[in-house]
Amino acid sequence: MASLIDETGRRRIINIRVAGFEISEDHTTYQIEVQIDSVKWQVRRRFKEFHYLHETEIQGITGSLTEYLFEKGDLWLERGYPFEFSILQLYAINQRMRLPAPTCELGSSFKSDFGHLLDFISQLETVKLTGSNRRYDRSNLVPNSLHYDLSPFKRLLRLQLVQVNPDRLVGAEHLRARLLTLSVRASVHSIRQLLLPEWPPHRQLGPDAPVYSACTSADFSDNELSEIDAGVKLMPRLKRLRLKGNSIARLDNLDELEHLAELDLSKNSITKLDSVHLLVGNLKELELANNRLTGLEGLSRLYGLVTLGLQANLISDLSEVAHLANLPLLARLILADNPLTQLADYRVRALQLFDSRASELVLDDEHATAKELDTIAVLQAIRRSRELSLSSSAAVAASSCSPPAVLPPAALQPPFRCQGVLLACPQHPLPPLSQGCHAKVDISIEKQ
């Protein structure tokens, strides 16, 4: 992975020695040790395999990419497909631009001109970069120890990084005004580390911090984030943020992301949520599966919420679900794999908390069944009639000329068929029906 002369024309330190050889029946295998500057590797090769060494050189790597992309590059671009480079390939491209070597070999066709590769790269909109912390082939070269420069990607809009070393990234400044989506996996321990490497870690992020002003979607899933660090503020236009599979315990630093509509914090270490609406008031989708939540009060005023995922937490009390009852737009709720789902009649009791909206709510990926809705209606009727009797007696007490109370429509749909269902609170005796009620409600209840 090196050329004989560096970018300033200085000769590199090169050591190549044959460390040994073996003779077999029809061929000889050589053990060759190569050292260029501090990089050292060993190869065992038959003589005819020596050309293989060339493959691992910069010219070899860029050359094979060039030939492929001269033919296929435009097709690739036209279709808008993402293109994947390894860190080693990008490093080779970066180094190739500093090599005092012609863009194509003398006598070879212009097809193999390095310009075609840069041409392709400069137009590419979606790029995936994959690093590695393991030694490359039989060398002592670790790809993630190499610097890689993103500046040749002049039209880059969507960047995916997988297992890269953020501390070796250069040339990302020009992406700040352009990048639309960023996805980073198995690479960082803080968001800031990737987005603002040029500032010392202790420097406060003020209004002078350079931001990724076009980025609307960021995915930092499966990294080593122990918190939502202030680096997230460097993407002020974020609409979607995925932080799945980290070790985050709290919601921090999200209050400036006023466009944030989707947040995924599943597989983290969240135990408690406080007044989430003060941080992320415009949230429509919140995914909190596989955390350690016991209470939901902190979500009670997240009024824009449509989808809420709470699978596999530690919620054991239905009264916690009641905190969600006033979320007017909530349409999808996942409570599966929480202790409370073991409660008798969990679904009916949970759905009932949503009152007249129970029929619209998708709970654990299922709409309420007709049977569940019937039961809920009965419970509502009972509750309302109880309220009515209380309020009418109160009304009578307050003023004798108030109009007669009328039952809400839900209670006027007799007869109820409630065989085989349980009431939420069977231990409470049914209140006497008020005198003004004309509907004959016939309910039979099986006691457990």
């Binding site: 970018e7 097709l75 671009l77 279709r79 005092p100 001109d113 310009g115 137009q123 002049k154």
Partner: protein, 211 residues
């Protein structure tokens, strides 16, 4: 995405040369992005840019290599001349030394390119007329004596920048038409690659994913 970006008949290779700080990278940026780049960093090694233009009704893609002007990168720069169909040789009208060095740049260009390479001389920073250090007439005469095309441009205002790139392309195209330039030898001109396997299949109703 329009298919215009992939619809061209030829690729021309250009190289931009000249002293450090004459505005080579800014000329390239102005030409490809139609914007002036205010604080442009020194070029390390080479930079690269492309744009598709139209010459006599033919779409041509220009692949432009922008080289480092610093002396210490001269070895790198020299290696990029090979196969250039056009060379833009730039000096700064407000710095006489950059003009005086043109003969050395020209020697490199003549030695390292083919005789058919079109060399276009550019006096950049024409917006700095008040600080002018090289007269138009003088430069014009130098160009004529050496058989070069010549214009004064401003990468800052964009004045004449298009013309310099386009006139160079016109001259190259003329050479192709006249048979002066042989398409089969690597002289910086390639016909567009055929996407392998016949006609390029159309992208199937798949919009650019906005994931």
């Amino acid at each position: 995405m329009t298919s215009g970006a992939y619809n061209y008949s030829y690729i021309f290779k250009y190289i931009i040369i000249g002293d450090m700080g004459v505005g080579k990278s800014c000329l390239l940026h102005q030409f490809t992005e139609k914007k002036f780049m205010a604080d442009c960093p020194h070029t390390i090694g080479v930079e690269f840019g492309t744009r598709i233009i139209e010459v006599s009704g033919q779409k041509v893609k220009l692949q432009v290599w922008d080289t480092a002007g610093q002396e210490r990168f001269r070895a790198v720069t020299r290696s990029y001349y090979r196969g250039a169909a056009g060379a833009l040789m730039v000096y700064d009208i407000s710095r006489r030394s950059t003009y005086n060095h043109l003969s050395s740049w020209l020697t490199d260009a003549r030695n390292l390119t083919s005789p058919n390479t079109v060399i276009f001389m550019i006096g950049n920073k024409s917006d700095l007329d008040s600080q002018r250090d090289v007269t138009f007439e003088e430069a014009k005469q130098f160009a004529e004596e050496n058989g070069l095309m010549f214009l004064e441009c401003s990468a800052k205002t964009g004045e004449n920048v298009e013309d310099a790139f386009l006139e160079t392309a016109r001259k190259i195209y003329e050479n192709i038409q006249n048979g002066v330039l042989d398409l089969n030898s690597a002289e910086g001109v390639t016909p567009k690659p055929n996407s392998a396997g016949g006609a390029a299949p159309k992208a199937e109703g798949r919009s650019d994913c906005a994931c």
